[in-house]
Symmetry: C5
Subunit: 150 residues, 5 copies
């Protein structure tokens, strides 16, 4: 199986590096770097259609301004559209500066999210029911799990 | 007929379990679990196109932050798009934490909504006029019916 | 010519009934009832592609909460998309509870809108210039006309 | 060359009339009138695909309420989508009542915008570089030009 | 390789001129000028499909009103959609008047952004990993780089 990794120059943390560590040599990897996250949708679609990736992990970093959030919204709409056009999963791994202003925490959250979503990508490659045992469990990426409501 | 069920690890209640109880052994079921609700649109499209489902029920759980609502909006746009691309219904069963902060009520609403929308899915499978006798009756899922205005 | 009518269980007024009265026996009608207005886009597309309708009238009822307005936005985007995919008109007849809290008025507005938009659908079936004599005249559905600015 | 004109009954000014005067007998014209601006996208697409128009000018009038602005947003998204599906320009000529409450000014702005955008349509028909001499010049329709920043 | 440049009459600075200087005679260029940025998506798609461009740089200038931001959102959604329909990059280079009211700074930011994004376009033409050495480095266009978080 081949995994695509799409990331940006805009991000302030190298989340793809974490993904590469998690993947190790279990799968082939193709990496595509674009200027900002609004360039991710077409990069991911190209990874699937031109580079033969079976799944893609897209890493974005959203600035603290409202306009950045609007752009993130556009990028996410495009990524979902790319998924629908290709019938492949694109994991949307975005860190938002609105989450915290503390740079150290920003890095921690972003890397934890990158790690867990790479693990999710590996699970999805195994089949549609691989994550079913964790359904409804309040799982979180970047933070502690919220857990199931008793 | 084959029913698809798509759900998430993010949700804090196992709504799919309720759906499975309502369906019983009346129909074949395929279940697909993804990390979060933004992963649902392509999962639902795959359930229809790759697993032969005639209808899909998608279960999402929306966190309490504004950003969660934006993501839910993106997911819903994607689900509607998936319906238009496949000409199949995808019931969009989302619980929003903005509805109530009381966890016990959250669970009640989510499960009631899951139950009623699974019944709706079963009805839609019977034909386009199966629900016509209830048209304009102010039916609600997750809450009591609002009723028809006299 | 065949007219499609799509409506919901969520609505608190049976707008389709008014539409049926206006149409009378002038045209064949196919009716499709779905749970809520987010289910309308695919229902309308199916009415056109699977039931051979030449035009569709979609009736929606939007609750008073902000989340209801977001859902209505998603439904409208989907309906416009369905029109573009089929090259057929889908009249989008939505009543919004934000218009008024008075239930009696809600019913009046919804039914007036249903009646006038059904008449519009009948006119559109006659050809692209049938409504041209009323262009720029400030016509309204659900309310009195605003009129042309002198 | 054939020019499509799409307009609405909702508008309070007959902008299409101004467009027809500007076009004169230089080109063939097809006119399509719909109830409101949310009906414009499919009308424009039909003008291109069914009536052979090379370019379309779409006239919309947006009411003063927030909901009207949301509808205008949906219409514009649909118009852009129709352009992408057909590879033809659709000039989106919308007057928004939020611009001014003065009815006399509303008419002035709408007609000035209609006139200038019809001229733009005529220029675009001549080729992709016809407007290049005016690039970056701060041109405005409905108002005085903002001009280039020195 | 052929580079497309799409720009507008609405912009108050000639960003395309800067792009042309950066490109020099390294590549063939096709330029397309439209009235406003909502006309950019179809222009970019035509540059790719009808003029054979391998990548497009789209220059937009967003006015200071909220309605301008909504239009920019629509344009960006359309540009991303055009990318997904063509599998080619369209660099979205927009200056927003909300960034600053100082006209001199507006020009500076717009031209710096135009220059850097033209350089990005040239890099993307070389291949998907050309920018990987700058991934996660907090690169900015129009402003100083934010840098990587240590």
């Amino acid at each position: 199986m081949k995994i695509g990794i799409a990331d940006t120059m805009f991000a302030r943390v190298d989340m793809a590096k974490t993904a590469l560590q998690v993947i190790g040599n279990k799968h082939q990897v193709e990496r595509y770097t674009v200027p900002g996250f609004k360039d991710l949708p077409v990069a991911c679609k190209k990874l699937i259609e031109e580079y033969g990736c079976d799944i893609v992990i897209a890493f974005g970093w959203v600035g603290k301004e409202d306009i950045d959030e609007v752009c993130a919204h556009e990028a996410n709409q495009g990524l979902i559209q790319a998924e629908l056009m290709t019938n492949k999963h694109i994991l949307k791994v975005f860190f938002h500066e609105k989450e915290t202003r503390d740079e150290k925490k920003q890095k921690e959250i972003a890397l934890d999210r990158a790690k867990k979503h790479t693990e999710n990508a590996l699970a999805l490659l195994k089949g549609k029911s691989e994550l079913t045992r964790e359904a409804g469990q309040g799982k979180r990426q970047g933070y502690d799990d919220a857990g199931e409501i008793a």
